[in-house]
């Protein structure tokens, strides 16, 4: 068994992690206290970069605005195993540890991923590994996994700062994953009991909407008949969307949800501009597109009912994740070795968890795993999401990932090669960029 074969290498790596334990957890805590939203994670990214540079790694900063990449080369350049940590926070203004100004809070546990990423770098930095491992490890801190602030990101897109609206989408487009052969990350989960790994499963794909209803302002008391109420158009549209729910098939795991980011300018003026940001999710793109067509009809219907205009921008969201089963097995073997034989919960590969991640996009290009470690409490993206057991949230997954990298790259990187061999990528980078670029559409409709 590989874990027995490479036990001494792993043990040395784990010792290095243990020695740096306080520093690793300190980094994760520091990031927790500095929550920043996607493409704006400058402080967070800087903290990670400094740590990696202190290990002697050459860090490429500002990849996709705020991302970074550093490569540790062993006895050969390839294959390269990508270890990923996500930089961004989500906005939960009610979270006790939210930034009071931005409302940003690490209510999804990404700070723990960055702690793990650094821990893996520490563990793999020991000289004992340079000879036995064939290949490289790329540490990638990716911006903007949470697909939020769509209006702001569309502005960035218009000004040419970004092309895609998520970090991994951008980093793929920019070629940051071109030299990566396999990629993994571990995400925290608040499922019970703590200290387990959830392996397998899938995520929903999605299409993101930015919808602008444009009516006509007038005095809401004095001359409401002169106005065209864009907020009423939006409410009719949302009512219409809700009536569609009975047509959603359970097997599609459809989710349609959104927020109104602009609902009018002042209460005594008929709302002339209303902006809705929402998304349609489903287990595959066909399921997403089927519902998207209905939802787009409803946006138009809202505009038609009130006689206003609507601009619907459909933005390429994420692809459903395809976790690689063979890759998972390497992770599982290491998780059992580190956390015990009973620490694994397996989820069927066609069982989507409902949420979406841009690891799904990456999984269409290379073998990817995205297991969860149960180490948090509260509701994901809720005000009560909190990690208090950093040993479980940060150190434990780091040990498993270190063991996994060693197994993949030892013995002339035999396992990494086998996994890569068996894997059928869905798209080349060029195909992926074309697909996602084509999903971006704008519909202009005048209700009359």
């Amino acid at each position: 068994m590989p874990e027995q074969n490479h036990a001494s290498l792993k043990s040395a790596a784990f010792k290095a992690i243990d020695r740096a334990r306080d520093e690793i957890i300190g980094l994760a805590r520091k990031i927790y206290e500095t929550p920043e939203v996607g493409f704006e994670e400058t402080v967070t990214s800087g903290l990670v970069a400094e740590k990696l540079e202190a290990l002697g790694l050459n860090v490429r900063r500002r990849v996709a605005l705020s991302g970074l990449k550093a490569v540790r080369r062993f006895s050969a350049a390839s294959p390269t195993i990508g270890v990923i940590g996500e930089l961004d926070a989500v906005r939960v203004p009610g979270h006790p540890d939210a930034n009071p100004e931005t409302g940003a809070a690490h209510a999804c546990g990404h700070h723990a991923q960055l702690g793990s990423l650094y821990a893996v770098a520490v563990g793999l930095n020991i000289p004992e590994l340079s000879g036995p491992l064939s290949g490289s490890v790329a540490f990638l801190a990716t911006p903007a996994e949470e697909f939020i602030d769509v209006g702001r990101r569309l502005q960035r897109r218009e000004s040419g700062e970004i092309h895609f609206l998520s970090g991994k989408q951008e980093m793929i487009r920019l070629g940051a994953f071109d030299d990566v052969d396999l990629a993994m990350m571990v995400h925290t989960s608040s499922e019970e009991p703590s200290g387990r790994f959830i392996v397998g499963g899938s995520s929903n794909g999605h299409l993101v909407y930015s919808v602008r209803f444009t009516g006509r302002a007038s005095h809401a008391g004095g001359a409401p008949h002169e106005g065209i109420n864009a907020l009423q158009a939006a409410t009719v549209a949302l009512t219409a969307i809700n009536t569609q729910r009975e047509t959603f098939e359970e097997r599609d795991v459809t989710r349609v949800h959104g927020i109104i980011t602009r609902g009018g300018a002042s209460v005594n003026s008929v709302p002339a501009e209303v902006i809705y940001e929402g998304r349609v999710r489903g287990r595959n793109l066909a399921a997403v597109d089927k519902v998207a067509a209905r939802v787009e009809r409803c946006f138009k219907a809202g505009a038609l009912a009130l006689g206003c205009e609507v601009q619907v921008t459909a933005i390429p969201g994420y692809l459903p994740i395809r976790n690689d089963p063979a890759f998972d097995e390497v992770f599982v073997a290491n998780a059992k070795a580190v956390a015990g034989a009973g620490s694994i919960t397996r989820q069927p590969y066609d069982d989507t968890r409902g949420g979406s991640t841009d690891m799904g996009d990456l999984s269409h290009l290379m073998p990817v795993i995205h297991p969860y470690v149960t180490a948090a409490r509260g509701m994901t993206h809720g005000a009560d999401y909190k990690i208090s057991d950093y040993e479980t949230a940060v150190i434990l997954p780091a040990r498993v990932m270190v063991g996994t990298v060693i197994d993949l790259l030892a013995d002339g990187a035999r396992l990494a090669g086998e996994i890569r061999q068996k894997h059928q990528p869905a798209y080349s980078r060029a195909e992926y960029v074309r697909l996602q670029t084509e999903r971006l559409r704008t519909i202009q409709y005048r209700g009359q």
């Binding site: 047509t247 959603f248 809202g302 006689g307």
Partner: protein
């Protein structure tokens, strides 16, 4: 019949006294006719037995009449001794449908919840007063007694069918009377309508006009449990359309008194099939024709939006309804002076604008028209609580006021009528009216 006691050259007051005396003498008989009609309610264009009662009364009075006008209408004329204005005194034949009304027909649920049975009584009361007193030979001009069908604009689908088979063109009785030329030689029209709002009489009330709409949403049926995703839900289309209609309400101006109040006449076929055929009826009412047409444009958009949102289609048939009521001021004052003599100064008031509609509005665009209200009713109009408490006021006093007004108009050489008519300009000619009404009729299916 008592012999004529009126001397040649009898004064207006003497003529009125003679008419009033005859009405009082036949008061019980007149009220009994109303109560017989109350007991046997019939809806519009189906008032066969009600019309027979009217015809029988004309026969008893020795008045030649024509029947079967606009399906069930009856008309009789009393000629004066010299040529002059022709004054129409009207009564409406039809009932409503109000299931819980104490006098509802157990089978059809038809019920006189609008007091039309009293109008027939008062109209026959006027005829009785004028004929039995023998004062016709003192009149310059003539009086036409009209029992008119279908004032209530209901059972739109059935009436549309009657039109399709050529029995009707318009869906209200008086527009049909106009089309058939029954008002061609009428210069003045009067009808006393019961009310629960006034202790005596009210003059000068205005009312909304309206268009009627017959709406049919087409969807696709599917098993509501097994295959809801394959259905297109026509009931949801209607639901969204209603939301759209309501969302427009803040654009209605107060002075326009816009009323849009749909009902669903078919909401699906069976509960375990996705509804594919949903039908609605509505009026779009307002105080002016322009306001009706503006509101109607919004309603049409909302209906189309419902169909668009679910991906179905909607068939919208808009039919000419009624025009707003514009009562003649000079004629109202003549009526008011007589009403004051009957019930006292303080019990005759000037009425306001009412949100309901009547086809007397149409007549008011063609000839000098009044539709005073007479008290005696209680309960909300068109509800199961609307009943006549004071038949003497509602029928007998109303008949007297109308008869006295006829005498004012046609007595003394017809000077009263000439005075009213000299200040009157009809808003439309019959030809203009008919072409306008026909222009309102549209039928279109929308598949967005």
């Amino acid at each position: 019949m008592p012999p004529t006691r009126l001397a040649a050259g009898a004064s207006i007051e003497a003529l009125k006294a003679a008419a009033v005396e005859e009405i009082d003498r036949h008061a019980e008989e007149i009220v009994r006719v109303s109560q017989r009609i109350l007991a046997a309610p019939e809806t519009g264009f189906k008032e066969i037995n009600t019309a027979r009662l009217v015809a029988a009364a004309f026969t008893r009075l020795g008045l030649p009449y024509r029947e079967g006008i606009a399906v069930t209408g009856v008309s009789a004329r009393l000629e004066g001794s010299r040529k002059g204005a022709n004054v129409a005194v009207l009564g409406e034949l039809d009932s409503l449908i109000v299931a819980g009304h104490p006098n509802a027909d157990p089978d059809t649920k038809a019920a006189h919840a609008c007091g039309h049975h009293c109008q027939i009584g008062s109209m026959l009361g006027v005829a009785t007063g004028l004929v039995n007193s023998g004062l016709a030979e003192h009149l310059t001009g003539s009086v036409t007694f009209m029992a008119v069908p279908a004032e209530e604009f209901i059972e739109l689908e059935w009436r549309s069918h009657q039109r399709a088979i050529g029995r009707l063109e318009f869906l209200g009785g008086k527009p049909e009377f106009v089309r058939l030329g029954e008002f061609d030689d009428i210069q003045i029209a009067m009808l006393a309508h019961t009310s629960a709002d006034y202790p005596g009489f009210s003059i000068g009330n205005s009312s909304n006009g309206m268009v009627g709409k017959v709406i049919r949403f087409h969807g696709t049926a599917a098993h509501a449990g097994g295959r809801p995703h394959l259905g297109v839900n026509a009931l949801n289309a209607a639901h969204i359309a209603l939301a759209g209609i309501h969302a427009l309400r803040d654009t209605h101006r107060d002075q326009d008194f816009v009323r849009v109040h749909p009902i669903i006449t078919k909401g699906g076929t069976v509960v375990n099939a996705v509804p594919d055929d949903v039908r609605m009826e509505t009026y779009v009412r307002a105080a002016s024709v322009q306001a009706i047409l503006e509101a109607n444009t919004g309603v049409d958009r909302a209906l189309r939006a419902g169909a668009l949102a679910v991906g179905g289609s909607v068939e919208i048939e808009t039919v000419a309804g009624y025009l707003p009521l514009r009562q003649n001021g000079a004629l109202s004052e003549v009526f008011a002076s007589n009403a004051r003599k009957l019930v006292g100064e303080g019990r005759v008031v000037h009425g306001d604008h009412g949100g309901g509609s009547t086809d007397m509005g149409d007549i008011s665009h063609l000839v000098a028209t009044i539709q005073p209200y007479v008290g005696g009713a209680s309960g909300a109009g068109h509800s199961e609580h609307y009943v006549i408490k004071d038949y003497h006021l509602a029928v007998v006093e109303a008949a007297k006021a109308l008869a006295m007004t006829v005498v004012d108009l046609l007595g003394a050489g017809g000077a009263g009528a000439q005075k009213v008519l000299s200040g009157y300009r009809p808003a439309m000619t019959r030809t203009e009216y008919l072409s306008f009404m026909r222009s309102l009729h549209t039928s279109k299916t929308y598949t967005e």
